[in-house]
């Protein structure tokens, strides 16, 4: 399709239509090594993932602002039986929801920017099983932008080795 960008990640095809401005812009910033989110200039709130309006007010105006890619694991899953062919070779793998330090508990106590991503090594490779076992709710993470093409990089998460980590992050009872 004209105007559609495509890229390959782990053997899986990713596509974004030309008219999908919000996702095109979001992933283009990621590909340049910048994590940016849309900010409503009228109330200063940023949102994740990209949307066409401010989820709190419906305002159409938005600007892409840089956001620090640091936060705490809010919840996770750990996939042992992969269903997508691309992921069979990397199981077990983790999907992390990392709550950013930015805008935590805003605009109401139970809200936050919970950014999805896989657990990866510091250089962006899917994490080996021994690293998976070290991560749980409470782990401090930093973002790695995994470049897929000139137009797309995917936000991923790696352990923030410089941060103070919980003595024992919360993990599901059975290993």
């Amino acid at each position: 399709m004209p105007g559609q960008i495509t890229a390959d990640h782990l053997g899986m095809t990713l596509t974004i239509d030309e008219l999908d401005h919000e996702n095109r812009e979001y992933f283009a910033y990621c590909a340049k090594g910048e994590f940016r989110l849309q900010k409503n200039p009228n109330n200063g709130l940023v949102r994740y993932p990209p949307t066409t309006r401010c989820p709190w007010t419906g305002d159409a105006e938005a600007e892409w602002v840089p956001v620090e890619g640091k936060g705490t694991v809010y919840s996770y899953n750990e996939v042992h039986h992969a269903i997508q062919p691309a992921f069979k070779a990397v199981a077990p793998y983790m999907l992390l929801l990392v709550e950013l330090d930015t805008q935590k508990g805003q605009p109401s106590e139970m809200e936050g920017l919970r950014v999805a991503g896989n657990l990866v090594t510091a250089d962006g490779e899917m994490a080996p099983p021994e690293l998976v076992k070290r991560i749980g709710i409470g782990s401090r993470m930093r973002m790695v932008l995994k470049k897929i093409s000139d137009e797309i990089a995917l936000p991923m998460w790696t352990l923030d080795e410089d941060a103070e980590q919980p003595a024992k992050p919360w993990r599901y009872a059975q290993e």
Binding site: M12, Y74, Q84, L95, A173
Partner: protein, 423 residues
Amino acid sequence: MTLSSVSDVDATAPKHLADQFSIVGVGETTYSRGGTFRTTRAMATEAISKAMADANMTAEDVDGMLSYSSGDSTFSPFIAGDLGIRLNFYMDVFGGGSSTEALIGIAMGVIEAGMCKTVAIFRSMNGFSQVRIGGTGARSTVPVKGDELHSRAYGWQAAGQMFAPTFMRHMYDYGTTPEQVATVKVTHSQHAARNPKAYYNKPVTVDDVLSSRFIVKPLHLLDCCVETDNANCIIVTKAERARDHRSGPHALIRSVVGRCCKPRIDMHYQHGPISTVAGHYAKEILWPNAGLGPEDVDVTGAYDAFTFTSMLQLEDYGFCKKGEGGQYVSDGTIKLGGKRPNNTSGGHLCEGYTHGINMVIENVRQLRGEIDDACPIGPDGKRQHTHDFSDGGSCRQVKDVEVTANLGWAMPGTGSAMVMVKG
């Protein structure tokens, strides 16, 4: 932990519709895995014709049709044509779990608007042999497009994978244990052992669940429902018309909530608590409109796509205190013979997977006293239910059921519910 306010929910559905509609007919095919090898069209016509027979209705009596699917079924016009039904109304909507109760509400509205008189609602799916409901096969390989780059690109696609952060967080927030949650499967398997139609009818233990392989933590294989091929139908009409066709007690619709959502439903994890599900909001509509509460309910049908989904919904609809769902599902309450049995057919974990409609069928039969277990049929043609729920028994008809509640699940952020009463 504080929740966003729900006090602004205004439950002002017209209560003059309460008890004015009946589920007058129910029908189903077998629940199988590749055993029938038929089209969704063939299965739907069988389920609907059985529901019409159950309702004592002919093709002339049914003039409305509703179905739900995700492109994996046959649309109403083909089904109606096969059955000789001329439709005054039909609609085929996109939807999976939680569609049943929502469509029942829509059927009531359509009939109330005078658009038609009687609506057959069906779901027909080859969830094992064609479009795998677990998301394996063809669905797992289509390109990842646009908004899906925030989910499927991370291997976050199948229902269990998508819901797992909610399940994990419930364990973290409240100390819910794997053993407690596994009890849902254990209990439903005991119920299924009394259901000749159930695909899985062998009782399992907590150890069986916890020693089955991990699919996606915290879900073991036996925490997940079974993928099956089947069709289900329910027929909705005004109660007075229903009585013209069918004698005996009726399952009357007291209250419905359809596809009620948490905030930020585009990605509900942005708005917590993520260990709370849509029932937290839906209950503010369900119970006021029903004029009763969870304590009045005799039998529940809490959607069990996974063990966790039953527990979370029972908790958020108020059958126990928030955070005590693990105890509620493991203390005997939800067993046959317990205070409030859940999914007496064995549900999606054991009977078969139909996106919620078979759980409504089961509760219709509970209210009528017409559960299709293996109890002997007496000289009057009626089943002689023993209500003996001790080990090894075959009865699953709960005695004197007056009120049932179905709690339908689409995902943590969306749910539907319905209260039915005997009348």
